[in-house]
């Protein structure tokens, strides 16, 4: 086993695109669940809304990249309204039911073959991301490799990472600022005791709807960054497992805490990368034993990952719903 290689991979993962994209989606979920107590089980739907908003605008309507971003935001807001307006006046579980159902429906809708001209159906959309890399401020040559000590990045990825991380940190700081503003404190009050907040004249419904929209737009940005990095939009990448991974990340970091999305995402992806690399590099003896007993092979290692995500989410929600670093008082996950 090459421990140097495994550790190098693990550390380079921690600053990578996945960490950034999932952390951003988790920032959105953190607003919804961490601060407002909303059970959004369909964050991947917002990512898809952002991604398709961008891709369809550029590819089908032939408008510019900037307008594409605008439409990504608009689609996310529209989705939040569709999901939130009927459910946010009701008990918390209705939003959960509707969001989990809607995120899967969105996937079915965009891969519907009647939508082929617009969304590309199951083939998806490609060739919309070039303006991002041709942007005048991009200091990197997309095709060139850049070395930083042991890490080496393609110029293309480096540009995505630079933009993404700056955006992510700006978002986190904005959320931090926002949550100490009167708006944010009212939101937390609604999470803790909706009746009390309402008695003080706060329109809980509007606050929750705004939180759902804001978190959804941030999720939409995560989706846009993801597809810009890939250079294509594939409908089946927006599957529900993404949502549950985002949940695992948020609860790992601690819901309702400023930096928890980034911390959780780094821990999650470092663990996954470490585990996968170790399992793939096992010497023949233990590898053979694993293959014989639980049929672990190169093919189902990725399935093992999701089994662990599920188990982790189950155990975290049971024993440490406040996350690894959170305090129980702050995040009591109260019933409503």
């Amino acid at each position: 086993m090459d421990w140097g290689f495994i550790l190098e991979r693990t550390f380079s993962t921690m600053l990578g695109v996945e960490v950034m994209v999932f952390a951003m989606a988790a920032v959105g979920l953190n607003i919804q669940f961490g601060y407002a107590g909303l059970l959004n089980f369909g964050q991947v739907g917002f990512m898809a809304a952002g991604a398709y908003g961008l891709g369809v605008t550029i590819n089908y309507f032939q408008w510019s990249f900037a307008v594409g971003i605008l439409f990504g935001v608009v689609y996310s807001i529209v989705l939040a309204l569709i999901l939130g307006v009927p459910t946010l006046r009701l008990r918390a579980d209705y939003l959960a039911i509707v969001t989990i159902a809607a995120s899967e429906t969105i996937r079915l809708f965009v891969r519907w073959r009647q939508m082929k001209e617009i969304t590309g159906a199951s083939e998806g959309i490609g060739g919309f991301a070039d303006p991002f890399y041709d942007f005048a401020l991009n200091p990197f040559n997309p095709g060139q490799r850049y070395d930083f000590g042991p890490f080496s990045y393609l110029g293309r990825d480096l540009w995505v990472l630079t933009v993404g991380w700056i955006l992510l940190i700006v978002m986190v700081l904005l959320v931090k600022r926002l949550m100490s503003s009167p708006w944010g404190r009212a939101l937390k009050a609604i999470r803790e005791d909706e009746d009390a907040a309402r008695a003080l004249g706060k329109n809980a419904y509007m606050y929750k709807l705004q939180a759902l929209m804001l978190g959804g737009v941030i999720g939409g940005f995560a989706g846009m960054l993801q597809v810009v990095q890939k250079g294509s939009i594939q409908p089946d990448t927006f599957n529900p497992v993404i949502t549950f991974t985002i949940w695992a990340i948020l609860i790992l970091g601690g819901p309702g805490r400023t930096w928890s999305p980034i911390v959780g995402s780094m821990i999650y992806w470092a663990l996954i990368s470490f585990l996968e690399n170790v399992l793939r590099q096992l010497p023949d003896g233990p590898a053979g034993a694993l293959e014989d007993t639980i049929k672990l092979s190169d093919f189902n290692i990725s399935q093992l990952r999701f089994i662990l995500v599920g188990l982790g989410l189950l155990l975290l929600a049971r024993y440490r719903p406040q996350g690894i670093f959170g305090s129980r008082e702050e995040m009591a996950l109260n019933d409503r």
């Binding site: 959960a96 519907w112 093919f299 599920g310 989410l313 929600a317 019933d335």
Partner: protein, 441 residues
């Protein structure tokens, strides 16, 4: 030799021996192959489609030769997505079924895998939307009724668990899949057929059993799983005062845990039961249904009637409804609430398992439950969360509506109607069709 077999049996875990029971360990080059051709509409001759790009996800791509044949070596057995690049098809030629692209091909360890991409000259299967005839309406009604009945069994379990514990169980769909897969397992391997030294025993222990008996075992195993989940996961959580929201996140974790355990053990490809898999439909007036569908529909009606009379007439059924209405009040009248909850989990899971068996008559797949989760939720919401008769009615309405909706829209997106119904009912009548008007905010 006997000692060796015994040792192997002990060493081999459940998962390992199950997976190895399905495959032979022969080594050698494995490949995905096939031949592409279509009929020329003018001459009526078969034409080979040369120069078409076929891509196997994660492996590479290959171009068909002059005979339209292709062959691509894959590194090992497993599931692969095979995509045909429709841009490279000859002019005017299309896939007969554009939905079947990419195809999922599972390569077993001892055999090359042939994949078929039927091609046609001209347009593929068009949309059937907009074709309204008495025959179609009748057929779709029958199919909607069938789907509604099966859905009802899953939905009643979910709504009962919600009623007694306040918990929306997002892993309920996995209980449906569990019933399906467990029945498949008993159908082929029997009770203990995978444990090495027990395998030579006669059925039902060693060998597979008839589907009817296997379905009963599957239902029992569903009840066992329900009991287990309540006893070892959710009862502890309730006692430790874990909030309902955190419990819901737990069920989300449980759902993905179970789902990926299923695909880990049973692999990705679709399967079917050993009995009754290829039946010819019989005509009843304008309706065509297979005999197994008719029997399953009859059985599900019986089961639903039995559930209703249980809830109405027995002490335990009344206790269930009482706990569902008001837990504290029920507890103060001397009802053992924990016992009721345990029974509700067991019967709810058993009903879900049975619904999985009936759905499994058509197709068995590791993520089947998740794909109907939307429909189960829509049924429950339509009927009002926590109301068993509401769930029954809701399921029938959902089944009929989405099937009849294909008169007007593409079958591919019929499930979207269920989401639409759910949004509408929440907007205008959140207590559900049968629910009393009350504040649920």
């Amino acid at each position: 030799m006997l000692l060796f077999a015994l040792l192997a049996a002990i060493a081999g875990t459940f998962v390992g021996s199950l997976a190895s029971a399905q495959t032979d360990d022969t080594t050698g080059e494995l490949a995905i192959f096939g031949q592409l051709g279509y009929e020329d509409p003018e001459s009526g001759e078969d034409v080979n489609a040369a120069g078409v790009t076929i891509e196997v996800d994660g492996v590479g791509s290959v171009v068909t030769d002059d005979l339209g044949e292709f062959r691509l070596v894959v590194p090992s057995a497993g599931d692969y997505a095979v995509t045909i690049d429709v841009e490279t098809l000859p002019e005017g030629v299309n896939l007969r079924n554009p939905d079947a692209n990419p195809l999922e091909a599972s390569v077993s360890e001892n055999r090359d895998r042939r994949v078929l991409f039927p091609l046609v000259f001209g347009e593929g299967v068009g949309s059937t939307a907009g074709d309204i005839s008495f025959r179609r309406v009748a057929q779709l009604t029958a199919e909607g009724l069938k789907q509604g009945l099966y859905l009802a069994m899953a939905a009643i379990g979910l709504t009962l668990i919600f009623g007694t514990t306040g918990l929306v169980n997002f892993a309920h769909a996995e209980l449906v899949t569990w019933g399906m897969l467990a029945t498949y397992f008993f159908n082929f391997y029997g009770l203990a057929g995978i444990i090495g030294f027990l395998a030579p025993l006669p059925p039902p222990f060693g060998g597979g059993v008839n589907l009817v008996f296997a379905a009963l075992l599957g239902m029992l195993s569903g009840a066992a799983l329900g009991w287990f989940l309540n006893r070892f996961i959710f009862r502890g959580a309730r006692r430790a005062g874990v909030s309902l929201i955190a419990q819901m996140v737990m069920t989300i974790g449980l759902s993905i845990l179970l789902r990926y355990l299923f695909v880990y053990v049973f692999r990705g490809g679709p399967r079917s039961f050993g009995d009754f898999s290829a039946q010819r439909a019989v005509s009843l007036g304008p309706i065509e249904l297979t005999p197994k569908d008719l029997v399953a529909m009859g059985l599900s009606v019986l089961i639903l009637v039995a559930v209703a009379s249980y809830l109405e007439m027995t002490r335990m059924g009344k206790a269930m409804r009482a706990v569902s209405d008001n837990r504290e009040l029920a507890e103060s009248t001397g009802i053992d609430v924990e016992r009721v909850i345990s029974l509700v989990w067991m019967s709810g899971a058993a009903l879900a398992a049975m619904s999985g068996v009936f759905f499994g008559l058509d197709q068995i797949k590791w993520d089947f439950g998740f794909r109907i989760l939307l429909l189960i939720f829509a049924s429950v919401t339509l009927g009002g969360l926590g109301r068993p008769y509401g769930a029954l009615l809701g399921a029938l309405v959902v089944g009929l509506t989405i099937n009849l909706s294909t008169l007007f829209i593409d079958a591919e997106v019929k499930n979207m109607i269920a989401l639409l119904m759910m949004a509408l009912i929440l907007m205008f009548r959140p207590q559900g069709i049968l629910g009393r008007a009350e504040r649920i905010g």
